[in-house]
Symmetry: D2
Subunit: 351 residues, 4 copies
Amino acid sequence: MTAGTMKAVIKTKPQFGAEWGEAPIPTIGPHEVLVKVVACSICGTDLHIYEWNDWAAHRIKPPQIMGHEVAGEVVEVGHEVSSIKVGDYVSAETHIPCGLCFQCKTGKPEICRNLKILGVDTNGSFAEYMSIPEVDAWKNSRSLPPEVATIQEPLGNAIDTVLSEEIAGKTCAVIGCGPVGLFAVAVARACGATTLIATDVNEYRLALAKKMGATHLFNPTKTDVVKEVLELTHGDGVDVMCEMSGNSKALHQGLAMVTPGGRASLLGLYNDKQTLDLNTEVIMRGIHVLGITGRTMFGTWYKAARLLESGLVDPRPLITHRFPLKDYAQAMDLMISGNSGKVVLLPDGPS
Amino acid sequence: MTAGTMKAVIKTKPQFGAEWGEAPIPTIGPHEVLVKVVACSICGTDLHIYEWNDWAAHRIKPPQIMGHEVAGEVVEVGHEVSSIKVGDYVSAETHIPCGLCFQCKTGKPEICRNLKILGVDTNGSFAEYMSIPEVDAWKNSRSLPPEVATIQEPLGNAIDTVLSEEIAGKTCAVIGCGPVGLFAVAVARACGATTLIATDVNEYRLALAKKMGATHLFNPTKTDVVKEVLELTHGDGVDVMCEMSGNSKALHQGLAMVTPGGRASLLGLYNDKQTLDLNTEVIMRGIHVLGITGRTMFGTWYKAARLLESGLVDPRPLITHRFPLKDYAQAMDLMISGNSGKVVLLPDGPS
Amino acid sequence: MTAGTMKAVIKTKPQFGAEWGEAPIPTIGPHEVLVKVVACSICGTDLHIYEWNDWAAHRIKPPQIMGHEVAGEVVEVGHEVSSIKVGDYVSAETHIPCGLCFQCKTGKPEICRNLKILGVDTNGSFAEYMSIPEVDAWKNSRSLPPEVATIQEPLGNAIDTVLSEEIAGKTCAVIGCGPVGLFAVAVARACGATTLIATDVNEYRLALAKKMGATHLFNPTKTDVVKEVLELTHGDGVDVMCEMSGNSKALHQGLAMVTPGGRASLLGLYNDKQTLDLNTEVIMRGIHVLGITGRTMFGTWYKAARLLESGLVDPRPLITHRFPLKDYAQAMDLMISGNSGKVVLLPDGPS
Amino acid sequence: MTAGTMKAVIKTKPQFGAEWGEAPIPTIGPHEVLVKVVACSICGTDLHIYEWNDWAAHRIKPPQIMGHEVAGEVVEVGHEVSSIKVGDYVSAETHIPCGLCFQCKTGKPEICRNLKILGVDTNGSFAEYMSIPEVDAWKNSRSLPPEVATIQEPLGNAIDTVLSEEIAGKTCAVIGCGPVGLFAVAVARACGATTLIATDVNEYRLALAKKMGATHLFNPTKTDVVKEVLELTHGDGVDVMCEMSGNSKALHQGLAMVTPGGRASLLGLYNDKQTLDLNTEVIMRGIHVLGITGRTMFGTWYKAARLLESGLVDPRPLITHRFPLKDYAQAMDLMISGNSGKVVLLPDGPS
């Protein structure tokens, strides 16, 4: 039995920031496993909680340990746990399904009607130890370094966005090159997108998009991206558009790029309601607009692990920074600047 | 060679209404067929042209013969026509594809990038004779009466809306019970929708929806339809929502009814832009929003013909009125009142 | 705690037949529920076990209680059971998945690599009480009579066969009209098959197929069924062929009926290897041949329950006989004769 | 108007071989284009015609010009041709559809019920000039060298085999590494197959498979390929199996490798009927067996052109030999030996 206290990044108050404090090492229930965190990584959601935006203010109940992306070693398992053993090297799926609703009973637990989210509705991974429900524990191959194993979760969002319908032999635009957008570029490249356009307002991120495999880069502050994309595609537009930005202007640009009969997969969340000309932007061009919540359990994880283990997706250019966990504030500042790819936090510090 | 003049409903001026006038019998090109019209029927689009709404004012170039839904006898064929013979009993697909664009070259001529529409961009069917491109001529079975053969075109829109993804064994809501909405009810019933909800603000139309097979009827002016649908479905919402109304409030109600992971097929066109909370209405619930333009060439027509010929869809309760073609103005007034199903026009008068 | 003994149909010896004997009321584990059987029904698999064919001789380990189709009342639940309560009215899915393999982890537990089958690898339902794993318990609506609730399991096989790809607006042939074939006819009819052909060598069964909704009946001992089907379909053949017979000749006839690009769903199992001209029967006509194992967990069950509750599938013409459970031998003889539809067994006798 | 005679490879007699002879330059019909052949390439079908196997003896009517894979310049167009101009650089789709049957009318002309094949039912491409129906002419980008443009047709077969269902993030086995099998390896690699196994009895071909991107190579004459594949995939088997060999033993090995619920795409044609244990090889493991005829018109061609133009598929390692057209006999001998990849023939000789 592991007991005692540990260091953790704790959201203690309903305001900007978080504290580096002490917390009890989690006590696990019969269906949970205790993981010693080896690497964790920062998601946009963590940033929202850190910055305390409107969404966070309505959803998060401080005090709470932040974080949900993780890789670590299992040090203890609950007495009803059968699929995971002490010593396993795991990451965590973060959807906690009820197991009883229509969605759960028909193979879609990731959109469970009573869904909880690890690190949002529970204590998270920015700590020395973390409790994970057995149903969310994913056994990693030892061939994946911890800093790669921890990013399978956001990579999974990119996978489900890009692969929600066929991509092979298609033209594709990825709108917004934050970390998940950059993963989407890498996945689209690995899975046969032939013309692969990336757009962002930030040149640092566009440069990363090129490294991840984009064939064409457009900055909407500098050029008419819709015009450029239509020219590039002989007036057809792209077969697939992945909206990863959560930006209103980008959404309309993205929809205008899609060829009639094409697909728009929406992952980015918006700060406000969006006003659409549904007739011309969607209906009369026969567009499929797919809301993407991210990561089937565990079809997506198999794909993520395989794409990484095979080398078809190489996430290393995208993991731009590593910090000791205690330097989380510096890491958050960097993410806020926009001049980073994926940022990894290491409880034991970088080696 | 047929020559001379004929009677027709002609949009002569850019204002409300149309004239009962004389026009030359169409001269056909090498790839066209000349059809003696036996029955035609009124679409919502015809009503827009008759009423001269904003869309019509921008699209229609008077003088032009109105109408596009039709059934008739082929009386002459162009010299390059090989698939249709004089004496054939045909209806008309109304998409006129270019045959050269990406969509045309990949089996989707119905969303051709250079699409023209019969009766919108060309002279139409509210006349004694009509010219139809060979590519749009559909040979009917003699077992279909002309008043049924003419409604295959709008039935096709309902078919593509309902069947754009799986419907069998699913729960379904049809939002808006105009003629195409009523066809959607009939198709959903014929194709295995188990709980089949219809909504409309008009009680006359709800009564028709019941005749067409709806299991539950809700009038949003009298009840909270979202609450009713959620109760009816054990809180799950419906698997499939077909938006046929083009009404803003109905759109939001419709989206709120869809179960996470469900499908929303949009056919209705809106008078204005729509403001959506994409996060909660689409993305975070993993909804598929499909823009439906209507009728593949000719997969949809096979389905329409088969559903009618087999009796699985019986359109007769929905064909509520028949007029001699010359009484088109009376027919249009009736359609404007909302108290009709499908209205058929007969050049030779009702028998 | 329920204890004591109960009456049951027990396969006691590796030979034809079974015994009406006494067995202990099952002791349930922490993840199981104990059900008082109200109705059970006979599957072809039960018949194979009863007759002791080659398959049974290799798979079944007597002594074992027979049967797996069931409806009953929960009288006790294991201490880890959370989704089922005493007093629930349940039926049983019969796939017992391991929960750990690739198939189980990707939403396909019904084809688990370590699959066990209720009533094949465990004691079954032809008894007064039965133990069911929680993962297999399906809560029924009280609106379904027990004799209907028990047949949801085989109905599910028909559902997955017919609905494995699109059926709406398609032409369909069901090859073989045993009970599951007859369910397939009913499902295809309810879900929009327009021309619906049934074939069987037994006229009694063809008469049942007509009651279940077949539009055309052919007896291959009396007519050239392939020729008839091609004529009926203007030379096209059918879009969908469901092979439910397990008969070699029927398989070839079925494949020859399928239109190029069509679908052949195979559920029937064969006594021997089958020799196919893959070039002409499958490859050069672009046929999809789908192996059907039957029943996703629990997408299929939702469809089965909904089709029954809505009345779209009415199984009553197909439930041709009811026997007290103790008269199982008489029921088996009847099934062997071929002159029955579905046969239900009632531990407390028919009311 | 082009007139006169040309040199061509002519199948003059119903026996092994072909003659280098003179033939009239083709006279084109109103819907045809005349192409000056710049490069053509040899398909397995050409080899069957050359060797005069059973299939050829039943299908081919000498005298006939051989060949169907082609790239060339349009030098004349029929008077009804609208989509192609003199000077266009084209290749040829080889399915000649009737345009009237159910398949043609529903977007599947490639499986037309009255299908003719260019170079099989008509004169072909092993000549200085060739007539191509407008419907089969595909405009190439000038960026594709003729020796690459000519192999789009067989590449298309590989594309449809590999991409007939999802491949991204999947494990895949390609059974048989003739030229189309090798293309399948390249396509699977470009489109996200993570573990990509190639099998063949010929080490020369296995070496080419490695160049085209296979991750694992197995020679069934030297090892138990099924055992190897199961070990490599943690006992799961592969998600996707592409049968390109037309070899009976390979077919059974291929099916045994597929994971339950997986997909087997069959392109290879067999010399004889195949005897299958459908129960265990297909049905009880829920396998999808897809007959692949190859190349949709023209979805597949867009994919082929894009994969080549983007560099995602690099066919150059696979184009192992080039001959002047007049040395066709030497080229055929080489192909018969099995020690070649794709062989290109050049009417004007290699540059």
